[in-house]
């Protein structure tokens, strides 16, 4: 028998009563999320699955600008310290309960407490003004406040108040949101099954990024957890999966040439080197400059991503249109071994071992590290590749005694304040007063223009100070069968407005 047919029968028989047809969409998902509670983790898998179930007050459009989602509209007070959110009416949770301001306040307070990004807003409070209105009160005005509310890492999912109150330390136990899909079942290590939420009320605006109209065009949405990349790939080719996520970059060219498969890319991740500036050799700026001078980004990225279409050499720490700046350009990608050697000499480098920690759980990170090691050794540095599994690696990088350099991939952020590489408490420990004060100034900037100006300045300084080295932007790539229509990722996978042709 045809396996595809079989699957569909299975899917339909299970959800037939719930949804009015529309078929099913099977996504070969690359990782099992650690939890379905978006606030409990920064893992992308949770975010991708969760954003179909949960929604937040604000969200991002394709230009990384905030747009309201559960709010009908937002007003900003004169002093810039209070935002008033008018909630959309008639929005119902998946359990049938209508969403009220109370739920939103409970959810936002949880977000405030759990999310790292929320903390950049300083001391804030959410108040329910009435059943349909929520106030956000800031201590100081902040231009990027709404963008921060729309952040996607640990996004501010709105859940019923009761669910939040019942939450344990490892997260909520009921998965109830307001999104276009509702949660049915999570068969551990097998699949996550969502089904169309028939009472979903979409925003009346064209879809744009995560914002705008959302419509479930399939009855059932399965995230099949398939950790093996070749399996995802073959499964897509046989039609067992409609979409295969995060395929190996090396397969890009081949899949692109395959007739019934469409490849879909979205450049939304930055690849950088982080230096350990708390301890060891890279506390010395000259050593950091030596590394920066020695690198040849093209080769590194070629090895990591294998195809030019999948990466873009870019020195911008904030690659969105709004933030683009010329500052720091000349420092980037110098490919100047002689200069590097000079820096080393000045710094008095005498063959100390440099530990480059990495993990093979992210092949591109590992591949980049291998080439970086090679390039640094060309200029006479002694580099040791320290490979471990992700769990060990993630503990290791918290410990300044264990490493000197890392290769890190960061998702694009909407505001500079969210950039991991600039955080003093984050691994790398960028504890520079000037950077700190500039970031504060940007957050408190009165207007976007001022904000931009401050950023230009900071960007130049960053390239001088070198908390790390930004290497490039790159894309993950997904592939779909030619029966899938309307799949357009933004900040990762989005399956509303996506349908499968019969």
């Amino acid at each position: 028998g045809n396996p595809k047919e079989n699957n569909q029968q299975v899917g339909e028989s299970k959800s037939g009563s719930e949804s009015k047809g529309g078929g099913e969409l099977r996504v070969a998902f690359n990782a099992q999320p650690p939890t379905m509670d978006p606030l409990m983790t920064t893992a992308a898998a949770t975010k991708y699955a969760g954003r179909h179930i949960f929604e937040s007050l604000m969200t991002l459009n394709s230009k990384y600008q905030p747009e309201p989602m559960l709010a009908e509209s937002v007003d900003k007070s004169e002093d810039g310290k209070t935002y008033t959110f008018h909630l959309r009416k008639g929005v119902k949770f998946h359990n049938g309960k209508e969403m009220t301001a109370e739920d939103v306040v409970a959810s936002m307070n949880r977000w405030k407490q759990k999310s790292g990004t929320a903390k950049t807003l300083g001391d804030i409070s959410f108040v329910a003004k009435d059943n349909d209105t929520v106030l956000l009160q800031l201590k100081a005005p902040s231009t990027p406040a709404l963008t921060i509310l729309a952040t996607q890492t640990q996004f501010a999912a709105v859940m019923p108040k009761e669910v939040i109150e019942a939450a344990k330390e490892i997260g909520v136990s009921e998965i109830i949101g307001t999104g276009p899909f509702k949660f049915v079942e999570w068969k551990k290590d097998q699949y996550i099954h969502l089904t169309k939420y028939n009472e979903y009320k979409a925003v009346n605006a064209p879809a744009d990024g995560l914002a705008g109209k959302k419509e479930a065009l399939v009855g059932d949405l399965y995230f099949d957890i398939v950790t093996n990349a070749s399996t995802r790939e073959t499964g897509l080719q046989t039609g067992q999966y409609d979409i295969a996520a995060a395929l190996p970059h090396d397969s890009y060219e081949r899949l692109k040439g395959t007739s019934n498969v469409k490849v879909i890319t979205e450049t939304n991740v930055a690849l950088s080197i982080y230096f350990n500036k708390k301890q060891g050799i890279f506390t010395d700026l000259k050593e950091r400059k030596a590394v920066n001078a020695a690198l040849d980004a093209d080769k590194i990225l070629m090895a990591a991503f294998s195809n030019k279409e999948l990466y873009k050499l870019n020195y911008q720490y904030m690659p969105h249109e709004f933030w683009v700046t010329e500052a720091g350009k000349k420092e980037y990608n110098q490919k100047d071994p002689e200069k590097a050697k000079r820096f080393l000499q000045e710094a008095g480098y005498h063959g100390q071992e440099i530990r480059l920690a990495t993990t093979q759980d992210y092949p591109y990170v590992y591949n980049a590290a291998v080439v970086i090691k090679e390039q640094l050794e060309q200029v006479g540095m002694k580099v040791k590749l320290d490979v471990s599994d992700f769990a060990s690696y993630s503990t290791k990088r918290e410990d300044p005694t264990k490493w000197d350099m890392l290769v890190v991939s960061d998702l694009f952020r909407a505001t500079p304040g969210e950039l991991g590489i600039l955080q003093p408490q984050n691994y790398g420990w960028t504890d520079d007063p000037k950077i700190a004060s500039s970031l504060q100034a940007i957050n408190a900037a009165a207007s976007p223009a001022e904000m931009k100006k401050l950023w230009d300045e900071l960007h130049g300084y960053i390239w001088d100070y070198l908390p790390g080295v930004k290497l490039a932007d790159f894309a993950f790539f997904d592939a779909t069968t030619d029966k899938v229509q309307g799949y357009k990722p933004f900040d990762g996978m989005i399956f509303w407005n996506t349908k499968v042709l019969k």
Binding site: A229, S230, E233, P248, D250, S251, E253, R254, K299, I300, M302, A303, S306, T359, Q360, P363, Y366, N367, V370, V371, K373, E374, L385, D386, V387, S388, D389, S392, Y393
Partner: protein
């Protein structure tokens, strides 16, 4: 009494006979060695691999790390006989240098596990009082996942090839122990073991010189399996960062690097795959043949 006291003359004559016999015996053994096809083929393969191990610098003068990223994933050509990998490193060179690591891991794991397993198996079968204790320990050891052990050891003692060997040896020891024990249980009941006791032989002698050789066939079968398994598992460990520390080449990690590009660059899996198969084949042929050579019985039923 006369028969006992031989003249000096007689003694030297006997010795001469003995020496002649020894020589004759050696010739017979050599002849048998060369007439035994499997040993012969096996040794040739093994010798080739040993050459690979020791002459890697000649085979790949640039070493296993020389990268040309622009030349990545090139199919075999005259410049790179076996093609290049995803960093543009010469595959032949990596395989040649990887031989050191992989053959080493395979060999030492098989050796250590055999030694330890044999010890456990033999003593468990000989001293019945130890049996259930040792076997239960083996049950326990078998259950501890090798990956876990490897990650733990790496973390505790640093990423070294020795730790891979140690972890895998511990994992495989119970397998050998069980196989040896089951064979030894039969052997220990044989009359010739009793005869050795009657001669006043100490236990260690009985165990190691009389029981052990008779458990060799299942041991060889298992040990060759372990050799192969160790090479392949080392790859899985490398992938988790718990194997041979990267970017040192091992057949295992070449293979798992190749795994992701198997559809684009077949040579990256094919060639290390073939080398692994060859080495296992060589070792097995050699082992089988050796066993046949050592086993007096198999000399009979042959044409």
């Amino acid at each position: 009494m006369g028969a006992i006291q031989r003249s000096l003359d007689g003694n030297t004559k006997l010795l001469r006979i003995k020496n002649d016999l020894k020589k004759q015996q050696r010739n017979l053994l050599i002849r048998r060695f060369f007439s035994n096809k499997s040993v012969l083929i096996g040794s040739i393969i093994m010798i080739l691999l040993v050459i690979l191990v020791f002459f890697a610098p000649l085979i790949a003068p640039k070493g296993p790390y020389a990268m040309e990223v622009t030349n990545r994933l090139q199919a075999p050509s005259s410049a790179h006989l076996l093609g290049t990998d995803n960093f543009g490193r010469d595959l032949l060179g990596r395989i040649a240098y990887g031989a050191q690591v992989s053959m080493g891991v395979g060999f030492f794991v098989a050796f250590l596990a055999s030694l330890l397993g044999m010890m456990i198996g033999l003593y468990a079968s000989y001293y019945r009082s130890l049996d259930s204790l040792l076997m239960r320990i083996c049950d326990g050891l078998m259950a501890i996942p090798g990956i876990l052990l490897a990650i733990a050891l790496m973390a505790a003692f640093g990423a070294k090839t020795e730790n891979v060997v140690l972890a895998l040896s511990i994992v495989f020891t119970p397998h050998i122990a069980r196989a040896v024990r089951s064979a030894a249980l039969v052997v220990r009941e044989q009359t010739y073991i009793e005869a050795m006791k009657a001669l006043g032989a100490p236990s260690w002698r009985i165990i190691w010189l009389h029981i052990a050789p008779n458990t060799l066939s299942p041991l060889i079968v298992q040990a060759t399996f372990i050799f192969a398994d160790a090479i392949i598992i080392e790859a899985a460990l490398s992938f988790l960062g718990a194997g041979v520390p990267a970017p040192a080449p091992s057949w295992g990690n070449i293979l798992s690097d190749g795994k992701t590009v198997i559809f684009n660059a077949w040579w990256l899996t094919l060639f290390p795959g073939i080398t692994i198969i060859l080495s296992v084949l060589g070792l097995n042929l050699f082992g089988d043949g050796l066993r046949d050579l050592l086993d007096p019985h198999t000399n009979q039923a042959k044409k």
